[in-house]
């Protein structure tokens, strides 16, 4: 029991994150719960606008406090993060939770040398001297596979390629060996060969440091490659949670199935690509009751949905929201 408790890094319960739109607050993340354990890569997948990034940003407390509200509970090793003030959060960010961002081209300060941007993270979380910080930064650069650490230390971001910059951002995120790394679409802005390298690097670092990673992406290929557990997100809710095998081999929720169906297969040359009808509704127009995916699967009778969707366990650690999954396979694709 204690060991299990030791393994839990992050416990998110009933998280609701709302944004102000025209003076009213709308939940972008609506009642999300998840548990991240040591040595685990937890992937969150979903379409654009489903709340993935909001979830990630809520965890590190980087939302604009004036225009957003975070409710529920985010516990890092038992410590509640939601009520922390800015100073307290600064101590956790970078030291216990590292974050990797989507666009390596804009995530580095163009006026600062790369080395200084890495040592800056160390400055606020360690008591190291300047020389020690530099030594550590050089080691980090070497670790993330930068060919010329000494030279790169003195370079400016614009002198490096996108892949190199993403490596720098990773080295910043892991500078203080945080237990949790939150990667918000870290490979989206990179081309495919670089993507594979970055994913391998992340996996290596995760193994080495035994950290837990929350990996946000819309790319199911990447999920299959990297994740241990997967949370499928739709309209601010996790509609299906399971191991990577559950999700890919035995998907239950109609949304998960549609997502998997939408991956073009090599053999299907010339066939029409599968598309999920409709769009993720905008925040202010989203319906707040019932199954949120229902409008996009109109061929499923209303009676198949729950009025207040709840999680149903369909396997070990495999949960699905709403009962509509039971009828889905009869009427798929009509």
């Amino acid at each position: 029991m204690d060991k299990e408790k030791d393994n839990v890094l992050l416990e998110i319960e009933h998280l609701r994150t709302a944004f102000r739109i025209n003076g009213k607050f709308y939940n972008a993340v609506d009642d999300c719960s998840l548990t991240l354990r040591k040595n685990e890569i937890y992937a969150i997948v979903g379409e654009s606008g489903c709340g993935k990034s909001t979830l990630a940003t809520s965890i590190v407390g980087l939302l604009d406090p004036l225009n957003s509200k975070v409710k529920g509970s985010i516990k890092y090793r038992g410590q509640e993060l939601v009520d922390l003030n800015a100073d307290e959060y600064d101590k956790i960010r970078g030291e216990n939770i590292g974050m990797i961002f989507q666009d390596p081209l804009s995530a580095l300060n163009p006026l600062m040398r790369v080395g200084d941007q890495i040592t800056e993270a160390l400055y606020y979380h360690t008591k190291d001297s300047e020389a020690e910080r530099k030594k550590k930064a050089l080691e980090l650069l070497k670790r993330v596979g930068i060919p010329d650490p000494e030279g790169t230390f003195r370079r400016y971001p614009h002198e490096l390629s996108g892949g190199m910059r993403q490596r720098i951002i990773i080295s910043i995120a892991v500078a203080c060996s945080p237990e949790i790394i939150i990667a918000d679409e870290p490979t989206t802005a990179l081309d495919v060969t670089i993507q594979a390298q970055i994913i391998d690097l992340l996996k290596d670092i995760q193994k080495e440091k035994e950290s837990g990673i929350i990996f946000i992406t819309h790319d199911l290929g990447v999920v299959a490659e990297i994740a241990d557990r997967v949370g499928v997100m739709y309209a601010g809710q996790l509609v299906e949670i399971g191991s990577v095998f559950d999700i890919f081999e035995d998907p239950k929720h109609p949304y998960t199935r549609s997502l998997l169906n939408s991956i073009p297969q090599a053999g299907e040359l010339g066939d029409r690509l599968h598309v999920i009808q409709g769009n993720v509704p905008p925040l202010s127009e989203m319906k707040r009751s019932g199954c949120r995916f229902a409008p996009r699967i109109p061929w499923i009778p209303a009676s198949a949905h729950e009025e207040n969707p709840s999680y149903h366990q369909v396997g070990d650690g495999h949960y699905v929201l709403c009962t509509c999954y039971q009828t889905f396979h009869f009427q798929e694709e009509k």
Binding site: V60, L62, A86, D87, Y89, D90, K91, I92, R93, G94, E95, G98, M99, F101, D103, S106, A107, L108, N109, P110, L111, M112, Q117, E120, A121, Y124, H125, Y156, H158, I169, I172, A173, A175
Partner: protein
């Protein structure tokens, strides 16, 4: 870098030659001559004609240009017809006045504009920002010459706080007295010129702060756990100052063009006033020399801008 600067300066030579040609011929194309309206109408026209011949005003323009260039290389920029003295000495005297006025204006402009921009940027949408936006709006909508006139009438003639002409009072003696008297004479035009200079800087700084706060690298810094104060100073402010640094060289041009009007209105004997007088009285050698000088200063200002940019922004390297 020094090589580049030297090359840029050498490249300025053809630009200056073209500028001098343009300035010279456009000046000659202007109707009238140095005698228009200036000479006793009862003078024998023959005398005037003789004078014009003597001054070389009937030579072909190219010949006149040749003479002029030749003389420049001898250090002779010609005689002022109006003041009847060498142009170089005349401009030299006036240049010092304009330099001090420009310097004071620039110092005032930045000391006022930077805090205003900071306050506005940090309080986006709140009342300090709105007050500053209103100030910007008012100052920007009133043409500079009108501001100068209002200042002159209000502070010199109605309130009688500041002198309306000159650079120094005749009664001032000794270094200290002269120093303060000079500042006292400059302060009104300097403040008036400062007003129109501030708006752009305030606006650049304000939007720089607001835009940079939303930048991804600021979020990265926050994710690193850098305290908000340090983020503002180290990440936001430095980046927000870039456009201001690049406009520094341009202020030279701005100050000069401002000086032409301001000095004339405040009867401040500087280059600007001299320039307007020389145009009005067809004082060719003064007018041409001043235009050329303004042109060279503008070119130098541009070069200065590029140099400053290459120092503050690593993405820009002049080669």
């Amino acid at each position: 870098m020094w090589k580049t600067i030297l090359r840029r300066i050498l490249l300025m030579i053809p630009q200056i030659i073209i500028l001098s040609l343009l300035v010279f011929f456009v000046a000659k194309l202007m109707p009238g001559d140095p005698f228009s309206g200036k000479i006793n109408p009862n003078t024998d026209p023959k005398t005037i004609e003789a004078l014009k011949h003597q001054l070389g005003l009937y030579d072909p323009p190219l010949v006149q240009y040749g003479h002029w260039v030749q003389n420049i290389f001898r250090g002779d920029f010609g005689q002022s017809y109006t003041y009847n003295r060498p142009v170089l000495g005349l401009i030299g005297e006036r240049a010092a006045n304009t330099f001090w006025l420009g310097l004071l204006t620039a110092v005032l402009t930045y000391t006022v504009a930077i805090p205003l921009g900071l306050i506005a940027g940090k309080n986006e949408g709140k009342w300090p920002d709105r007050v500053i936006a209103f100030y910007n709006f008012v100052v920007n909508s009133v043409p500079p010459f009108a501001i100068y006139l209002i200042f002159l009438i209000l502070f010199s003639f109605i309130l009688k706080i500041f002198p309306s002409t000159g650079t120094v009072s005749a009664s001032a003696h000794g270094f200290v007295q002269i120093f303060f008297s000079r500042i006292y004479h400059m302060i009104l035009p300097a403040i008036a010129m400062m007003l129109s200079g501030t708006t752009a800087i305030v606006q650049y700084l304000r939007s720089g702060i607001i835009d940079n706060t939303k930048e991804d690298y600021v979020r990265t810094a926050r994710a690193k756990g850098v305290p908000e104060k340090v983020i503002f100073r180290k990440h936001i402010l430095r980046n927000a100052f870039l456009p201001i640094a690049s406009s520094l060289g341009g202020t030279i041009t701005g100050l000069l063009s401002g000086a032409i009007v301001a000095e004339s209105i405040f009867s401040y004997p500087g280059m600007g006033q001299l320039f307007l007088q020389s145009v009005n009285s067809r004082d060719y050698s003064v007018m041409i020399t001043l235009t050329l000088l303004f042109g060279i200063l503008t070119l130098l200002g541009n070069l200065l801008s590029d140099i400053i940019m290459s120092i503050v922004d690593p993405r820009i390297r002049i080669q």
